[in-house]
């Protein structure tokens, strides 16, 4: 042992940095239709390989192929397309509103629209999502009023959260959308608790946890797997792997040859990976996992392989840490475009109708935005009152807070 070589420290780095040419050669993409669709009561140990595959339905020719295809009608797919287009238009407007100083902060979904929009379609009323800030598609596809979303973003007098929360940190219980936390990952384990409660009460509702690739490093992710597997909770645990966590690529979170889905294997939790830019694949996998949960078969862990096309938030500029054109080279393409092309190929849609729909959607969004702004923006008010600030800390305001409110003169 005297001729020991010194150790060396390894810090993973992405294939390219700004200035370099985008390179996704190490992202292995199996062909569409290639991955089996096991029965929902499959033994988790029999499908361990699915944690290292990618389930895909739409192929390069925009056809829906393989065992996960064929679940949605054209009408349903057109509705899905509209949801994604609406989310994209909404994002564009709010992003601009932030630049205009009408709110402090915004976070967009560009490139990831299929994940939340398609997943939402597979849920039933009463099911509860525990989302991150990048699943507004759940609200849009779930029919939550866009006006409420905008009023919250503007922290105006009509803000359903009374100005207390950051923009985009929505809460909509009636729409199966849990209050978003600014602290990453905390809600992944709460989803498991909700699901446990549903099982305890012999309810039929399930819960859904959402987390980003980077956030899987947080402790709550682990607790969620521990509790979900121990109590076979009726929960779907969704990991949205959009390749980036602010400025760090997924190699800082993933750990060598592992996958995020494969984190489930040590817990006996069925683990699937899916093409997150494929509306049909996302829906199919979501439906499979939701059925498992609802049939009391326990949790499923799903990794959505997608790409964050935009900046992390309005406070971020990704050109500082990745090539500007990286997103153009993302091998799974654009979810809106892929679904549009599929519907055109199926004869259910056309370029013209798409262009027209785009214009229609935009003008609807703009109309709602106008209405929202008539209730105020962060910049110009009117805002929720200072009184609102003191309310709701407890069910009843305790004496010390009442004294403080008096001191505050409100």
């Amino acid at each position: 042992m005297s001729d020991l070589k010194p150790l060396s420290f390894h810090v993973p780095a992405p294939a390219v940095r700004p200035g370099g040419a985008p390179d996704f050669r190490d992202v292995k993409i199996p062909p569409a239709g290639a991955v089996d669709r096991p029965p929902i009561d499959v033994a988790p140990e029999d499908i361990r390989d699915l944690a290292f595959e990618i389930i895909r339905v739409l192929n390069r020719d925009s056809e829906a192929v393989g065992p996960w295809a064929g679940l949605l009608s054209h009408e349903e797919l057109l509705e899905g397309l509209r949801h994604m287009m609406t989310l994209r238009a909404f994002d564009a407007r709010m992003q601009m509103a932030q630049r205009q100083g009408k709110t402090s902060f915004y976070m967009q979904h560009m490139g990831e629209e299929a994940v939340s929009c398609a997943f939402r379609k597979a849920l039933s009323p009463g099911d509860m999502n525990f989302p991150t800030y990048r699943q507004a598609g759940l609200l849009i596809a779930g029919g939550y009023p866009m006006l409420d979303m905008m009023c919250q973003i503007y922290s105006n007098e009509r803000d359903p959260l009374k100005g207390r929360q950051l923009p985009v940190m929505y809460s909509a219980r009636e729409h199966g959308f849990f209050s978003i936390s600014g602290n990453l990952a905390t809600q992944f384990v709460q989803a498991v608790g909700w699901a446990m409660a549903s099982a305890m009460k012999r309810d039929t509702k399930i819960a859904v946890g959402w987390i980003g690739d980077g956030s899987t490093a947080e402790s709550d992710f682990h607790s969620a797997l521990v509790f979900a597997s121990t109590y076979k909770a009726p929960v779907v645990l969704n990991i949205v792997n959009n390749q980036w966590a602010i400025s760090t690529f997924q190699g800082i979170a993933r750990g060598g040859s592992g996958t995020f889905a494969a984190r489930g294997l040590g817990f006996g939790i069925p683990a699937l990976r899916v093409d997150g830019n494929d509306y049909l694949a996302v829906y199919a996998v979501a439906k499979w996992a939701i059925e498992r949960a609802r049939s009391n078969l326990g949790p499923t862990l799903i990794e959505y392989v997608t790409y964050r096309v935009g900046a992390h938030s309005t406070s971020d500029d990704p050109s500082a840490y990745r090539p500007k054109t990286e997103s153009d080279n993302w091998p799974l393409g654009d979810p809106v475009l892929r679904l549009k092309n599929h519907l055109i190929r199926e004869g259910a849609w056309s370029e013209e109708r798409h262009t027209q729909a785009e214009a229609e959607i935009l003008s609807t969004v703009i109309a709602i935005q106008k209405e929202a702004e008539s209730h105020g923006t962060l910049h110009s008010g009117p805002h929720p009152s200072a009184r609102d600030m003191f309310e709701g800390v407890y069910e009843e305001m305790p004496p010390h807070l009442r004294r403080q409110r008096q001191q505050g003169g409100v």
Partner: protein, 337 residues
Amino acid sequence: MPRRTMVEAIRDAMDVSMQRDDNVVVFGEDVGYFGGVFRCTQGLQRKFGSSRCFDAPISELGIVGTAVGMAAYGLRPCVEIQFADYMYPAYDQIVSEAARLRYRSAGQFTVPMVVRMPTGGGIFGGQTHSQSPEALFTHVSGLKTVVPSNPYDAKGLLIAAIEDNDPVIFLEPKRLYNGPFDGHHDKPVTPWARHALGEVPEGHYTVPLGKAVVRRPGTAVTVLAYGTMVYVSEAAAAETGIDAEIIDLRTLVPYDLDTIVASVRKTGRCVVVHEATLTSGFGAELSALVQETCFYHLEAPVMRVTGWDTPYPHAQEWDYFPGPDRVGRTLKAVMEA
């Protein structure tokens, strides 16, 4: 009326609550089949089934995190952290989630949850079985923090906490589980069976959160204490002969300022006693509050007797613990000031 230990009273509170409300569930490490390392949940699983009382993995984060989800769903989880010293992994869920959820969701989601944990020293538990972290909760808006000092209150406060619609941290002074303890560790243990506050009514009753109680009326000096320190203060008063008015706070937040102010304005002097370390302990808040509200009535500085600003040592337990001698010396000092 039956006499109960504090362990029995706490168990009884959960039993009564579980009977009255199907939504009350109890879980934690070793809490289910075994009934808890201090036996506080013994028999509950057998009585209510394993969907109502069950063992949890060793993850305080997971225990509180799932409880937050359950509470938001509509249950009333009453969870146990095996020792308060082990609450830190759950601290994020308590502070960032349980305490904030009502506020940030504008009341859409609430967290009617109780987190029970044994607190304090006196059992040779060393630095990881003796801590008193109450100040880490009292600083957090949205939490209520309760510390009972006897079986009667423990039962009534715990039922009130379970019925409360906000998250409540319920700190159980473990050295009081089996009897009052005045710090005279060399004397034989008094059982609750021989103490009036060991009388615990059957069935449902509550002791309201946010109300302190005068344990010993007096005129010379007000002592603000809670948990074990109530008995230590009683001993100190008895041994020094100082006619102290001893207030058992019971709830730290929301605190009962009226009771405190009325007493200090009467006595003109105040001593604050707790086991937790001095700096930034809850005693600091009490001292600040007293001088803010009673400044013109104070004849001497408000003094604090607390654990030292060191980790809780093993061998030097009785040098660390603020016993009746230390409290007595401070009472005298305040009287002479």
